[in-house]
């Protein structure tokens, strides 16, 4: 279970979710993407209607069986749990349940035997939804654009994970909540929309790598090929397999696979 997450929007999160999911399915794994972002960009890219019967509320309460909501994409072994506009109130829906942070994990539980890989495309924010996503995932993949103070994004995320862990321990008399996962998800950050011709990008990447040597080696370049995804409504591998953009995602997927 892999979450693609960023506190900030517009960093190439959905692009990563769609391209990595396609490569996962291409490699033979039965793959599901859950488009948790109410904007429904991943749903759009797979040409599927952004609609979930009963809305997000019924889904997180377990009133709608999740397998009935899944749609097949145009690609073998790759399915989608579509976005729905009601997901914008997901925090509220979760908060009304008994174990809010556990809820997404429970919704996905019946699908774990059906899929080899589940990728969550998360909305940008730090919220109850994010916390729920961290509980459900074994790794969180964080795209970062080489903008000033990029390390802050990662710091914020880590502070959040530490705080979450401490709160949980306090609530349970020094132990982690019994129904939470025993360990936090692995955080895997990578640079996205990189233009090495720009000195600023070059400098920011170097500075960050000095303090954060664990950042992934693969960089996703800024490319017009990614812009075409919106027109073609398909992963880059489908219409531009020979491009640098497609090659960079293949390399990223390999690197991620080796780490999770």
């Amino acid at each position: 279970m892999l979450a693609i997450y960023s506190i900030k929007g517009g960093v190439g999160k959905t692009t990563a979710a769609v391209n990595l999911a396609y490569l996962s399915a291409l490699g033979g794994a039965r793959t599901l993407v859950w488009d948790l972002d109410p904007q429904g960009a991943a749903t759009f890219l797979f040409r599927i209607k952004p609609r979930v019967k009963g809305g997000g509320s019924a889904l997180v309460r377990g009133q709608t069986p999740v397998d009935r909501l899944i749609r097949g994409t145009d690609f073998d072994r790759l399915d989608l749990l579509p976005a729905d506009l009601s997901y914008r109130h997901m925090d509220l829906h979760l908060d009304r349940t008994k174990h809010p942070t556990q809820q997404l994990h429970s919704v996905l539980a019946p699908l774990r035997s059906e899929y080899d890989c589940i990728i969550l495309d998360c909305p940008p924010s730090l919220s109850l939804v994010s916390e729920s996503v961290f509980v459900a995932s074994s790794a969180v993949l964080v795209p970062m654009i080489p903008a000033p103070l990029p390390a802050r994004t990662l710091d914020q995320l880590e502070q959040f994970l530490v705080a979450r862990s401490d709160n949980g321990a306090e609530r349970n008399g020094g132990r982690h909540p019994a129904d939470d996962r025993k360990r936090d998800p692995k955080v895997l950050a990578f640079f996205s929309m990189v233009d090495r011709r720009r000195q600023l990008h070059e400098r920011i990447i170097e500075e960050l790598l000095r303090v954060r040597p664990e950042v992934l080696l693969t960089e996703i370049p800024a490319s017009t090929v990614f812009e075409q995804m919106g027109v073609r409504r398909a992963p880059v591998e489908v219409f531009a397999a020979g491009s640098r953009a497609a090659a960079s995602y293949r390399a990223l997927w390999q690197e991620v696979m080796a780490l999770i």
Partner: protein
């Protein structure tokens, strides 16, 4: 009507995209006795002309689950596999290997399929269903072609209703999903027996049927078995063809010998003589097959023996083929057919009109008593010939049980056959080892005289013969306990219950005066 227009009739805003059409030549493979089918599979060899080079074939071997048609294993293949050794590795293929053993995989039926995959899109250009259009060209019994068109619609998850509407529209246009397996359709068109058909010697009999008609039906089935193995024997496809061919001959001889009074004696005597001649000719070839099988992958020392056996096997095959091409063979088959149609004659065949249930009970009871009596006469000092004779009697009983099996409750006859088989296995091991040890020693003498082989070969043959003698002795030592079990009161009750009619019947039509043995079966 094109698929596009069929789809447009369902929904005006739906569209289709077709992949380039392709074709495949499919050969369904199975052993002569349908072991793949009975294992619950179908095995297909697909070959298709490659687009770049029409001479090059890119083939694949596919194993499917027979009921669901689901692909269970797949492997690229240059050509059809002939034997287990030609199959790919892996657990599942390993199961197939265990099932087919030494039998050859034969092409059972061939089909040419032209196919095209079509994707159906909704108004958002989203694929909602995939259609596989197929045009199968099947042979029929007149060597003409029959064409069968099918369409298989697969819905994309979450779009099942669209897929159902498409399937309904295609069905209305005359394109349905393939309901029956293509192999069975093809087999029925060429007029071949269904693979599910019974292969045993048992024909459907009922107890009140006149005995002459029942025995004629059994002989008909055995003749069919013999003929269906004929080509495999001629072409030496695998050793089991000769084995099954011989078994059919032996069963027929045994039935003729044991059903005195049912068929006219002149005609059955002529057939018996013919079958004795043919059976004699198949013997040497079969014995050599057994020797070669036991030798397995030859150690270097035994390579000359292997070569010697192969030469003799070829000679035996030539003699057998000459016999099978002879007028005498054709005349034998003619006699056999005529006997099956012979009218019953009360004077010549007094049991011909009697109900077969009664007659079979009596035959089986008599054969059982013989086995019991001759077995009991054997002790540690009895010469081997008595055991060989007992083996023959046990075989006669087995053939009767198998040929008349449909007259009895399946569980009862199965348990009786199982008990008998345990005794037969022991007697078979004893005689086979003895014969093989003798043959090895006599072949060693031949080879020694020809001076064509090194001493190490002769020594290795001596060791093999010693091994055989050890096995023979072990079998002889085990005989008492095996026979004790076979003749136990539990088994005697089993036989008694099976043929109650034969034991209690007012008159025992086939009972021989020389063997009024009453204590064989418990009343």
């Amino acid at each position: 009507m094109s698929i596009k227009s069929v789809i447009a009739a369902v929904h005006s805003r739906w569209d289709v995209a077709s992949e380039a059409p392709s074709s495949v030549h499919r050969t369904y493979l199975d052993t002569a006795d349908w072991r793949i089918h009975r294992g619950g599979w179908t095995l297909e060899m697909d070959s298709r002309a490659s687009s770049s080079d029409s001479a090059a074939k890119d083939g694949a071997l596919t194993l499917r689950h027979r009921e669901s048609d689901a692909v269970m294993a797949w492997a690229p293949a240059d050509g059809p596999p002939a034997f287990a050794a030609d199959l790919p590795g892996g657990d599942l293929w390993g199961q197939v290997v265990t099932v087919i053993e030494d039998r050859r995989l034969l092409p059972q039926v061939e089909v040419d399929t032209h196919f095209q995959r079509v994707a159906v899109f909704n108004a958002d250009d989203k694929t909602t269903a995939r259609v596989l259009l197929e045009r199968h060209v099947l042979p029929d019994s007149q060597k003409h072609s029959r064409v069968l068109r099918t369409a298989t619609v697969t819905g994309v998850r979450g779009y099942e209703r669209s897929a159902q509407r498409i399937a309904d529209a295609l069905s209305a246009a005359g394109l349905d999903r393939q309901a029956e397996s293509l192999m069975s359709v093809a087999l029925s068109l060429v007029g071949r027996a269904s693979p599910g058909a019974k292969l045993g010697p048992g024909v459907d009999l009922y107890r009140s049927m006149p005995a002459s008609r029942a025995v004629a039906a059994i002989l008909g089935r055995l003749r069919y078995h013999m003929i269906s193995n004929q080509d495999g024997v001629r072409e030496q496809l695998d050793t089991e063809f000769l084995h099954d061919y011989r078994v059919a001959i032996r069963r027929a001889r045994s039935i003729l010998r044991q059903s005195g009074g049912v068929l006219p004696p002149n005609a059955s005597g002529a057939l018996s003589a013919g079958l004795e001649w043919l059976g004699g000719l198949t013997g040497p070839a079969r014995d050599l097959d057994v020797h070669l099988g036991d030798l397995g992958s030859t150690a270097a020392d035994l390579a000359p023996l292997h070569g010697y056996l192969i030469d003799r096997r070829e000679t035996a095959q030539r003699e057998l083929t000459v016999a099978m091409d002879s007028a005498r063979y054709r005349s034998l088959l003619h006699t056999w057919r005529a006997l099956e149609r012979a009218q019953t004659d009360q004077a010549a065949a007094p049991l011909g009109d009697r109900p077969v249930g009664e007659v079979a009970d009596a035959f089986i009871a008599r054969a059982y008593r013989r086995v019991i009596r001759r077995g009991r006469a054997i002790d540690v000092s009895t010469p081997a010939e008595a055991l060989h004779d007992l083996r023959k009697r046990a075989k006669e009983l087995r053939y009767l049980l198998e040929c008349f099996q449909t007259l009895y409750a399946e569980d009862e006859i199965t348990s009786v056959i199982r008990e008998l088989k345990a005794l037969q296995d022991n007697l078979g091991e004893f005689q086979d080892c003895q014969v093989q040890a003798e043959t090895l020693r006599s072949m060693a003498a031949d080879l020694y005289e020809s001076r064509a082989v090194p001493a190490t070969t002769l020594m290795a043959m001596g060791r093999l013969a010693d091994d055989m003698e050890k096995r023979e002795k072990r079998a002889r030592d085990e005989f008492d306990s095996r026979f004790e079990r076979f003749s136990s009161s539990t088994n005697r009750k089993r036989f008694a219950a099976l043929v109650a009619g034969g034991v209690h019947g007012a008159d025992d039509p086939g009972n021989e005066a020389e063997e009024p043995d009453a204590d064989g079966i418990e009343a």
